[in-house]
């Protein structure tokens, strides 16, 4: 039926179209220009503005092209005097209340109303009431926030903003209030936007065709035609949103817009993507190399700094051996940067002591998924979310950490009726809208998952055929899991039995079910076990290896996937080729023309202790800020202070850079060429959206200079060339070259130049382990390393919040973000607050065995009783003073998610 073509006449010519398309789309295909104002493809189909009207033979009225579908034999006239008169009048009506202050409007040149007025030659609407428009401005009370400005006078009630809020942001913070000529776009009860569910993603602003909604920080920063635009990739989380950045004549970035036809984000951005670019403009940017003399930095020339660094590194290497040096790659730097820095560690320094902050977030994923599936990456693309019938989210506060992905998840729930299960100790925003929320105690994931799987096994809901054909280890697994009866599990996790059973059934019986997890799973002393358990759940139910079925760890940093892919890890070269594997080593030795170390190196989480004990003497860090992000940072700082030499490449004088002997000013991601690999393995092209500071250099360039000085020449001309080199050495990246990434990037594995990349890993149950089968690993529940006791009665769990990012060096230099959330706070349940006599906004001191911080209390419905939450973005109240450095024995990831703490009210 649907592929049957129908005959339609447009302006006298015959055309054939598939059934069910609108007149507007038919005209678009046939190249007829129909003006629109309220229409926004895939977002708004209101049919309200009356601009797209056409004549349809036999109809008594003009027809709206945007909503009326073509039918067999339809005769359409797109241009006639009646059509033109109607469009013109409707435009004049839209302009009846619209102030003609284009001269001072930020949307000038970017305004669909203005364009149409130009096209129709409307200088001044015959209905314009200047008094009303200029002398009695309409009042709005809800735009008191720092992000979004609303001018109701300019609003033409097209409702694109409301539709974007509903269908893109999925929050419905704004709607239409009142009726008729009094209708307005408003928040419920005209509440300030910040008191609604608004997440300030500003999808509404991007959807606005006029200047009614504007990003506040851009006001007065230049009109669109005076800004230069660049398409690049957002530098915050690992979603990899494609973004257009606009810079002004002073080289400042002033505006960000999501790219509408992006397969990754479909035009969406989150508040950080939308507003968070501002840090690159900061006056705090490092603009010259610094060398520390007598405890103080002095400005230095590049020659001096390179010379000094290479000299010190060589001395230390000679004196203590190469393994006395540690190198840090960075998940915020490009693939090319990371490739070069790990090559530097291995080929130039001669050590495998190279790591990146993935250690702190997804090391357990690499270990766990590597062991279970043979590949340590998300199995399915973001666009595949829509194919899932059940979405199982565990340990992921994604509305704050991966907001755009959470929007796709909520969209799938709302629009397609998919079910959402959220397992999280906190009642996160996603948990609030979930169909089932399992609020287990932090650190009890294995027990929960084993209990869930026992239900699945007992009820016969396992996928026997899949297990048989594509896995091994099931029998051993069943023995272990059978110990986790529902009563025990309920007791350990603090979750109602029925809820666990319901979730187990919902997940297991779904035609298509997919899993998402984040730090709530990985950042535990049992992180690898957690990941294995998650994998087991997918494997025993066969929910993996096809559309709508998979395991998707969401990566937290823009290039955390890539930094690992590039081998900025102590045990692997690029593409997870093991350093202990002689064949791999030989390949790299040949390519790099040096002898390479044959033992795995040290993970960054051991750098602090090693430095303290004197085993590690120098660290060369490309970015990274371990003195904010490592657990128990007081202890780590002692270690770093004990180093003989510390060199840091940075864009700001971070907490770690402050301690360095040499600091190199580098380029920020928005100034770079190169690639990021996002959470769905998509290698994406970065393009410089602004000039880097004159005296700063690219990260790979700095490493190359040091390397060359040390005596290992690196003469890369650009990032493109680096990619070509690493592609040759990396089977999964072999077909990836910059020129191939222009459109929407390529998902690895991409083994050849004509391969189009891999959307779904392990497709058809063909796992990447050597025998092609997945491993179902038996996992026992082990308690967290530090549990509450009399002295420290609360469980502290740490993480991120929506408005800030990691160590805060970027987001806290974004004025609007830092104005909105200027200080750290602890989330505490109502019950606990009451028992401690703590009121909302009281100051409290939170202490663990490692230290104390003072911060504000927020009494919240998010945490479970006896669980508290603190974010780690604020140097004034650094959560990592409190966290426990207990490591997962396999992956060496620290236990950020569980520590015992106490809370005292302070005056």
């Amino acid at each position: 039926m649907s592929d049957k073509l129908i005959l339609v006449k447009i302006d006298g010519k015959d055309y054939q179209f598939s059934q069910g398309i609108t007149i507007l789309n038919a005209c678009k295909i046939a190249n007829y220009d129909i003006p629109t104002l309220c229409y926004l493809e895939n977002i708004a189909e209101e049919g309200s503005c009356g601009m797209c009207v056409v004549e349809v033979k036999g109809a008594k009225t003009l027809q709206r092209a945007c909503i009326i579908k073509v039918t067999e034999g339809m005769e359409i006239t797109t241009e006639s005097s009646a059509v033109r008169e109607a469009r013109k009048l409707n435009l004049e009506l839209a302009l009846a209340h619209h102030p003609l202050d284009c001269m001072t409007c930020d949307a000038d040149g970017d305004c669909e109303l203005q364009e149409l007025a130009y096209e129709f030659g409307i200088k001044r609407s015959q209905f314009l009431d200047e008094k009303e428009v200029f002398e009695y401005p309409k009042e709005t009370s809800w735009d008191s926030n720092p992000f979004i400005q609303f001018d109701p006078q300019k609003c033409i009630l097209c409702r694109r903003c409301v539709d974007a809020c509903e269908s893109q942001a999925i929050v419905e913070a704004i709607g239409i209030g009142m009726r008729g000529y009094k209708s307005t776009v408003s928040t419920p009860f005209n509440l300030p936007l910040e008191q609604t569910d608004c997440q300030f993603c500003a999808a509404c602003v991007q959807a606005c065709p006029v200047g009614a909604l504007v990003e506040k920080p851009r006001v007065g920063k230049g009109k669109i035609f005076n800004l230069e635009k660049t398409d690049t990739i957002c530098a915050y989380c690992g979603t990899g949103c494609e973004v257009t950045l606009y810079r002004d004549k002073k080289n400042d970035l002033v505006l960000a817009r999501g790219i509408d036809d992006s397969i990754v984000n479909e035009g969406r951005l989150c508040v950080k993507g939308r507003y968070g670019y501002e840090y690159v403009n900061s006056k705090d940017r490092l603009t010259t190399p610094l060398i520390k003399e007598n405890g103080k930095f002095r400005e230095a020339t590049w020659e001096e700094a390179i010379e000094y660094t290479s000299k010190r590194l060589l001395e230390i290497k000679e004196k203590y051996g190469p393994d006395a040096i540690g190198v840090l790659g960075s998940s915020r730097c490009t693939n090319e940067d990371n490739y070069v820095v790990q090559k530097f560690a291995r080929a130039v320094i001669g050590t495998n002591n190279v790591d990146n902050c993935a250690r702190l977030c997804h090391a357990s994923t690499i270990a766990g998924l590597g062991k279970a599936l043979g590949a340590a990456a998300a199995t399915n693309p973001i666009e595949d979310i829509k194919n899932a019938d059940v979405m199982f989210v565990i340990g992921s506060n994604m509305t704050e950490t991966h907001p755009v992905i959470s929007q796709f998840i909520k969209e799938n729930q709302r629009k397609r009726g998919a079910k959402l299960i959220v397992c999280d100790p906190r009642k996160t925003d996603l948990a609030k809208v979930s169909d089932i929320h399992i609020q287990h105690y932090p650190g009890t994931d294995v027990a929960l998952l084993n209990g869930t799987m026992k239900v699945i096994v007992d009820k016969g809901l396992v996928n026997k055929e899949f297990i048989e054909a594509h896995t091994e280890g099931y029998d051993e697994f069943v023995k272990i899991v059978s110990k986790y009866d529902i009563e025990t599990v309920s007791k350990i996790t603090g979750v109602d039995k029925a809820l666990i059973e319901k979730a187990a059934e919902m997940y297991a019986t779904a035609p298509n079910a997919t899993i998402f997890y984040t730090m709530g799973i990985t950042q535990h002393s049992v992180g690898t076990d957690n990941v294995l358990s998650v994998a087991n759940l997918a494997l025993v139910t066969g929910h993996i290896g096809r559309e709508g079925n998979g395991i998707n760890p969401l990566r937290g940093q823009a290039n955390v996937q890539g930094a690992c892919d590039m081998g900025a890890l102590p045990d692997v070269y690029t593409g997870y080729q093991k350093v202990i594997d002689p064949a791999s080593r030989e390949k790299f030795e040949k390519a790099w023309r040096v002898k390479l170390p044959d033992k795995a190196g040290m993970p960054v989480t051991e750098f602090g202790d090693a430095a303290l004990s004197g085993k590690l003497k120098a660290i060369f860090a490309m970015g990274e800020n371990p003195l904010m992000t490592e657990p128990d940072i007081k202890h780590v700082r002692k270690g770093f202070e004990n180093l003989e030499f510390l060199a840091v490449q940075e864009i700001f004088l971070s907490e770690t850079a402050e301690l360095a002997d040499v600091v190199f000013p580098s380029a920020a991601a928005y100034e770079k060429e190169g690639t990021f690999t996002n959470t769905e393995r998509r290698v994406q092209l970065l393009r410089p959206a602004r000039e880097k500071p004159i005296n700063a250099k690219f990260d790979w360039e700095i490493v190359s200079l040091v390397s060359t000085k040390i005596g290992y020449p690196m003469k890369y001309k650009n990032a493109d060339e680096i990619m070509d080199e690493l592609a040759k050495l990396t089977p999964s990246y072999a077909g990836i070259h910059h020129f191939r990434l222009e459109q929407s990037g390529i998902q690895w594995p991409c083994p050849t130049d004509d391969h189009e990349g891999t959307k779904i890993l392990h497709y058809g149950g063909n796992f990447k382990r050597s025998n092609g089968k997945a491993f179902i690993a038996p996992v026992e529940y082990i308690k967290a390393k530090e549990l509450p006791d009399k002295e420290y009665p609360f469980i502290l769990t740490t993480g991120r919040i929506l408005y800030h990012y990691h160590s805060g060096n970027e987001s806290r230099r974004v004025k609007v973000l830092d104005t909105f959330v200027p200080r750290n706070y602890i989330e505490i349940s109502k019950e606990d607050a009451e028992s401690l006599k703590i009121n909302n906004k009281d100051s409290v001191r939170v202490s663990t065995r490692r230290g104390s911080i003072d911060l504000e209390a927020r009494v919240s419905d998010k945490p479970k009783k006896s669980v508290v939450f603190i974010s780690f973005h604020f140097r004034e109240a650094a959560a990592n003073i409190l966290t426990n450095a207990a490591l997962d024995p396999v992956s060496k990831i620290p236990e950020y998610k569980v520590a015992a703490c106490k809370i005292e009210k302070i005056k």
């Binding site: 209101e46 049919g47 309200s48 503005c49 009356g50 009207v53 009225t61 003009l62 709206r64 909503i67 009326i68 579908k69 009646a82 008169e85 109607a86 009048l89 409707n90 009506l93 839209a94 009846a96 209340h97 015959q126 209905f127 009431d129 033409i156 009630l157 929050v171 419905e172 913070a173 704004i174 709607g175 239409i176 209030g177 009142m178 009726r179 008729g180 000529y181 009094k182 209708s183 408003s186 928040t187 419920p188 009860f189 509440l191 609604t196 569910d197």
Partner: protein, 577 residues
């Protein structure tokens, strides 16, 4: 539908609230319970005129400002109320006792001017009565109903045969007058027979459009899927129209029986009667009728042993004219703002909650039992070709006798106004009538020979519409009438589409300007162009028909308009809020 509707929930909150409004915290509770976002709840609450999100007085006084009451000097009533209460429109007395609001047509056109205090209507008001009423209501509450509806003596009545004859609250009296026999007959003969009979009768929808009812039913009967809905559109709101109210108040079972037969024929298991919130007595009568029908086995499971089950729920409106449009009405039941849907798809295949839905007007459904009981052939003996049966007319304005009459199709307009209506009041000459409500047609005495039926009216560019006839005598100022109508549409436009939202506002602005002696001749051209644009490009019938009377009045009374403009006449009273 699961649970209670959003309208019901908000009605409950408001009636349980001391200050007669919907506070934010209660809206939040509703939002959480119903999983409807707070902004949607707010958007809903602020759309309907009977809801308020701001505190109001203990009692709400609604003054009808629509055409018939306006002609009956509603403005004087408003002025007196303002004076007595010491407040303006939209304000609350200091003692928190009364809030004064204006309202669109309350359906009491035959007893204009009219007001409602809470749910109690007061008609045939004189300015002198007002202090007394306020005093009495304050001390004793508003209990009395001080007007009665007039119906002309029974003569060839089909739809109104029981009205004024039987006790509307007694199902026994309805049954005694051959009630529910049609249902039994329908069940005996089966759904297809019913559809055939209705098709054969050529019954046409009485809501205005005149679509053949039998065909509508057939579409839905043939639409796939087990879940189908039947809706009785009792959201009568067209100014000058009150005939549906008269049926609901006078013979509710005839509607219920019509609905059951329609549902049986089309395979609907759930039905709604969407009654406008202002029609309190109608709601109570229909409620009682449903209860009694259920207890007599005419409603519920396995009706009369037929295996057919059907239930009816009442949906109480909350103040919106546009909700009378069928897709808008369904949106409203679903808990959305009263905004129209795009068509196609049409309700018979995609209606309430996306399911096939039959939606018929009250009068249409009340025609069904007599057709089934007496047969299509009998029905076709009444009326004229392609317009069979009778039509109810609501007569108001400058006419001697006001009320509802039932006349067979084919009667002359002059016969209706003169024979039934007793001619123009006070012996004045006739200026014209507004037929079919303010979205209908303006007819002048030269057109009074026209037979009232679909085809004949079509030849003069008219239609029976809602069947209301507002008579204007020679002294009426056409600009004043136009201004009142323009105000009505500006107030009732849902605001969704630009041509209507701003169009109705601009039309009012221009007419108002003219009425205040500040008009210019070119304003008339603008009105005509704007009107044509609204007709051609408004999203739904409200905007498409809003300019009808105004544009027609310019065509028919251009001289009067021009005179008004040239002489800078100030006339017609204030329509400002």
């Amino acid at each position: 539908m699961k649970g209670r509707s959003l309208t019901d929930a908000l009605h409950d909150i408001q009636s349980g609230n001391k200050e007669n409004y919907i506070p934010e915290k209660d809206a939040l509770t509703v939002s959480e319970k119903s999983k409807v976002s707070l902004s949607k709840v707010y958007g809903f609450a602020t759309f309907y005129s009977m809801f308020s999100v701001k505190p109001r007085g203990k009692r709400i006084i609604r003054v009808c400002k629509s055409l018939s009451c306006h002609m009956g000097k509603a403005e004087e009533v408003i002025e007196k109320l303002k004076e007595v209460l010491g407040i303006g429109i939209g304000e609350t007395t200091e003692d928190g006792e009364f809030t004064l609001e204006e309202s669109s047509c309350l359906g009491m056109c035959s007893v204009s001017p009219a007001i409602m205090i809470d749910e109690i209507p007061f008609g045939n008001l004189t300015v002198d009565q007002i202090p007394e009423i306020i005093k009495k209501v304050k001390s004793e509450g508003s209990q009395e109903k001080i007007y009665t509806e007039q119906i002309l003596p029974a003569q060839g009545r089909v739809v109104l045969k029981n009205v004024g004859v039987i006790n509307p609250e007694s199902i026994d009296e309805y049954i005694a007058s051959r009630g529910y026999l049609a249902l039994k007959k329908a069940i005996e003969n089966g759904p297809q027979w019913v559809i055939n009979e209705v098709k054969k009768s050529e019954l046409r929808g009485r809501g205005g459009a005149g679509f053949p009812t039998g065909r509508k039913w057939e579409f839905t009967a043939k639409a796939p899927g087990p879940q189908k809905y039947l809706i009785c559109n009792a959201d009568e709101g067209e100014p000058g129209t009150f005939k549906d109210r008269v049926i609901m108040e006078g013979d509710p079972h005839s509607i219920i029986e019509g609905m059951i037969i329609a549902a049986f024929a089309t395979g609907c298991n759930n039905g709604y009667v969407y009654i406008r919130g202002e029609y309190d007595l109608s709601i109570r009568r229909i409620e009682k009728a449903i209860e009694d029908a259920r207890s007599h086995g005419f409603l519920g499971r396995n009706i009369l042993g037929s295996g057919f089950s059907f239930n009816i729920e009442i949906h109480k409106g909350a103040g919106s004219y546009v909700v009378g449009e069928e897709t808008t009405l369904m949106e409203s039941i679903e808990g959305h703002r009263g905004e129209p849907r795009k068509k196609p798809p049409y309700p018979p295949t995609f209606g309430l909650l996306g399911k096939p839905t039959v939606i018929n007007n009250v009068e249409t459904l009340a025609n069904v039992p007599p057709i089934i009981a007496n047969g299509a052939d009998w029905y076709r003996t009444i009326g004229v070709t392609e317009s069979y049966g009778t039509k109810l007319f609501s007569l108001s304005g400058d006419v001697n006798w006001k009320g509802v009459i039932e006349a067979p199709f084919g009667a002359r307009l002059s016969y209706i106004t003169n024979e039934f209506g007793g001619g123009v009041k006070n012996g004045k000459k006739l200026k014209g009538i507004i037929l079919g409500g303010v979205s209908g047609t303006l007819l002048t005495p030269d057109q009074f020979d026209t037979s009232v039926d679909f085809n004949s009216l079509a030849t003069i560019g008219a239609g029976p519409g809602s069947g209301s006839i507002v008579v204007m005598d020679e002294t009426r100022c056409i600009v004043d009438i136009a201004k009142n109508i323009a105000y009505f549409f500006k107030y009732e436009s849902c605001g969704k589409c630009t041509p209507c939202r701003i169009g109705t506002e601009q039309v009012y602005k221009i007419v108002d300007r003219i009425s205040k002696g500040r008009g210019e001749e070119e304003d008339l051209d603008i009105l005509e162009r704007l009107g044509e644009n609204m007709r051609l490009t408004s999203f739904c019938p409200l905007g498409q028909t809003a300019p009808n009377i105004i544009v027609q009045s310019i065509k028919k009374f251009r001289d009067e308009w021009i005179e008004h403009i040239k002489d800078k006449k100030v006339e017609g009273g204030s329509n400002e809020r």
